[in-house]
């Protein structure tokens, strides 16, 4: 057993309202600069939809992630030899059109235009070439809220029955906020010929060393989530850094901190680094269980002993015990990895959403037939859709999670109305009263410090007197007078 710590984010899709506040706070801090205009390290897409970049889930096209080759894993795109031969032209790399041509508007003209009979306008221009754009062809959320669903939502890879999008009464919608998953088996790292990408041992954050990156672009397509971006100006790869300057000091990431719906949870998971690759060689529908098996119980004395042996500090162990992420991912098993079948063992987890609120009008939604809270079988979101998104096609995994969520609602509705429901409602879903109340608290009442349990990096025991002068803002390259 090789116990390591990983800092992990969980998203409660039921509560995401698609306001993009997370994307904006991330953009403002990290990617509002030349070469990075088109990048959204955090983005929120409407599902069903093609997402950002368009069709990122289509691995026939981008060849991201790993595939099983006998008893081993190999990168889907190519091995080391072909990588060396494809360095000059990387065949699978997404192009700017797969994202969108970044644009801005000439606001200066509104105030600075010469006197004229016509009202001055702010024309759109390309942020790359600087040329005027007559008709904007795309944006980061071009299919937001199902707009153009016949064109975009119908192309969603997870949608088995494309006709769902044709009928208003069969249509469903949810949001999918995405950051880098900081995978345990990151394909971007494995594909990098310059060895610029690495996973930090202490907290598992995956980063690009800008000094080492040579701009060979294999990471951009090897990441099956398309969360490594190419900065067209610097000629180097960039990605979500899990706001490490904040997380290192115990603060929450900008995206999670600004989240209006409080849908995000950040905490520590302890995992077993032994045999990660071997456990990813099973069939698609076994992968969620295989992934959960790697997550260790922080209360187990053996795990704690192994953690201490690997240099995990007491503060981190304490955070792991209190981790809301462990509760949601392992204890309740309701938070699921996004597309585990890409076999990178992603470390961002999603609590699947229930269906849209039922309408009380018309024939479509017969309320009494459903009961006040929809039964699992009557959900408008097809189970198969969620299974394709979050469970490698395994319906049972999704049903188990949804059953708990539904039981919790039925239970709490009874509690609030003073008409407690039968205990079987909870026990059928594998919960009891205490665990239901714990989950309820985490979903609704939990404050900042309950949703985010982030231990700081323990710098105190790492020569603090030497580090003191290296912290904070400064000039990276020394001026002549500096010694």
């Amino acid at each position: 057993m090789d116990v390591r710590a990983q800092i992990v984010m969980v998203f409660n899709l039921d509560k995401c309202i698609g306001c993009h506040t997370c994307s904006i706070s991330c953009k403002n801090i990290w990617t509002d600069r030349k070469g990075a205009e088109y990048m959204w390290w955090n983005n929120v897409e409407t599902k069903p939809g093609v997402g950002y970049p368009k069709q990122w889930e289509n691995q026939q096209r981008f060849k991201g992630g790993f595939v099983v080759d006998g008893k081993k894993l190999r990168l889907k795109a190519m091995g080391k030899g072909p990588t060396l031969l494809n360095m000059f032209f990387q065949p699978n790399m997404p192009k700017i059109e797969d994202y969108y041509e970044p644009f801005d508007f000439d606001y200066g003209n509104l105030a600075g235009a010469k006197d004229s009979d016509d009202q001055p306008v702010a024309r759109a221009f390309s942020q790359i070439s600087g040329d005027d754009i007559d008709e904007i062809q795309g944006g980061p959320n071009w299919d937001d809220d199902l707009s153009g669903s016949q064109i975009y939502a119908a192309k969603d890879m997870n949608l088995q029955d494309k006709q769902v999008v044709d009928q208003y009464d069969t249509m469903f919608m949810q949001y999918l906020p995405r950051i880098c998953n900081h995978c345990l088996n990151p394909a971007c790292v494995a594909s990098c010929p310059s060895r610029a990408l690495y996973k930090r041992g202490e907290d598992g954050i995956v980063l690009v060393d800008q000094n080492v990156c040579k701009g060979w672009r294999f990471c951009t397509s090897a990441c099956p989530y398309k969360k490594v971006y190419f900065n067209w100006q610097s000629g180097k790869a960039e990605k979500c850094i899990f706001c490490y300057p904040r997380v290192e000091s115990g603060q929450c990431n900008a995206c999670a901190h600004s989240c209006v719906g409080r849908i995000r949870y950040v905490g520590v998971l302890l995992y077993d680094a032994d045999g990660v690759e071997a456990s990813l060689t099973g069939s698609d529908d076994q992968l969620v269980d295989a992934q959960r098996a790697h997550i260790l119980d922080p209360r187990d004395p053996k795990v704690q002993e192994g953690a201490r042996k690997n240099g995990i500090t007491e503060q981190w162990l304490e955070a792991a015990v209190k981790s809301p992420v462990y509760t949601l991912v392992k204890e309740f098993g309701i938070a699921l990895p996004l597309h585990p079948e890409f076999r990178t063992m992603p470390m961002a987890y999603y609590i699947p959403s229930l269906s849209p609120v039922l309408s009380v009008f018309g024939e479509t939604h017969k309320l009494l037939e459903h009961g006040m809270i929809p039964a699992l079988e009557k959900l408008r979101v097809p189970i198969g859709y969620l299974a394709s998104l979050l469970a490698g096609g395994n319906h049972q995994v999704i049903e188990k999670a949804l059953r708990k969520l539904i039981a919790l609602r039925v239970f709490m509705r009874g509690e609030n109305l003073g008409a407690p429901v039968d205990a079987a409602v909870l026990s059928d879903a594998g919960m009891d009263r205490a665990s239901a109340l714990k989950l309820y608290r985490l979903f609704t009442l939990a404050g900042y410090n309950e949703r985010n349990v982030i231990p700081a990096q323990q710098r105190e025991d790492q020569d603090p007197e030497k580090r003191k002068q290296q912290a904070g803002f400064g000039i990276l390259e020394k001026t002549r007078r500096a010694k």
Partner: protein, 224 residues
């Protein structure tokens, strides 16, 4: 005078710049060590330009360097007429391939609005020099036949005389102008190498070939 410039001043200047500036740049401005790929913004013409260029020029460059390093070996190898013929034809084909590639790369830079933002004077300079170099190389291959043979008895001993600090111009002084331009351009490219994005050719992904796929860095182990 021209001979002294091309065959003494230029090579020593180029060599000095290469040896001094390259490590300096690696240590102080490593962030700029990149090929500055533009595939993200334009890929259709790039495919037909960059592949022929690299796959054409690399074998030719390696052949030039190899013949310089092991002239005896090459002399024996090329003693056979059939081998010489095959190698000569192959070289010419690769040269034409590379020339086609670099011309396409030049046209591509000139024709894309988006690429203007990532094209600098150093890019133009390199493209023109490399195109000129490939062009003169192909010309020499066509009109001064058996270059792979006479290169061993003229340019190679001359280059050895340069690196042994005893320049012997006798080997190369009487060549036609096109050969001298080819040599001058080669030295110029070597001189520019440490200042431009050409440095990307000085990094080989050896770690990538031998490392395990997932790379970790630990603060506690001092490699972060």
């Amino acid at each position: 005078m021209l001979n002294a410039l091309i065959f003494i001043a230029l090579p020593y200047a180029a060599l000095a710049l290469l040896l001094v500036v390259t490590p300096l740049r690696f240590c102080s401005r490593r962030l700029t060590w990149s090929a500055y790929s533009t595939q993200f913004l334009e890929r259709k013409l790039l495919y037909w330009g960059i592949n022929p260029w690299h796959f054409g020029i690399l074998p030719i460059l390696i052949a030039h360097v190899f013949a310089f390093a092991f002239p005896g070996l090459m002399k024996g190898f090329l003693g056979n007429q059939t081998t010489l013929l095959i190698l000569e034809s192959l070289g010419l084909a690769l040269g034409l391939f590379a020339l086609l590639g670099i011309v396409l790369l030049l046209l591509r830079r000139a024709n894309s609005g988006m690429l203007k933002q990532v094209t600098f004077s150093s890019d133009w300079l390199l493209l023109f020099l490399l195109a000129f170099q490939a062009g003169t190389g192909v010309y020499i291959g066509c009109f001064m036949r058996w270059g792979s043979q006479w290169y061993l008895y003229t340019a190679v001993p001359y280059l050895w005389s340069i690196v042994s600090f005893n320049p012997q111009l006798g080997y190369v002084a009487d060549f036609p102008l096109v050969f001298k331009l080819h040599a001058a351009c080669a030295f110029l490219i070597v001189a520019l190498l440490p200042f431009t994005k050409l440095v990307h050719m000085l990094y080989l992904p050896i770690d990538f070939v031998k490392d395990p796929p997932i790379l970790y860095r630990w603060r506690s182990r001092g490699n972060l």
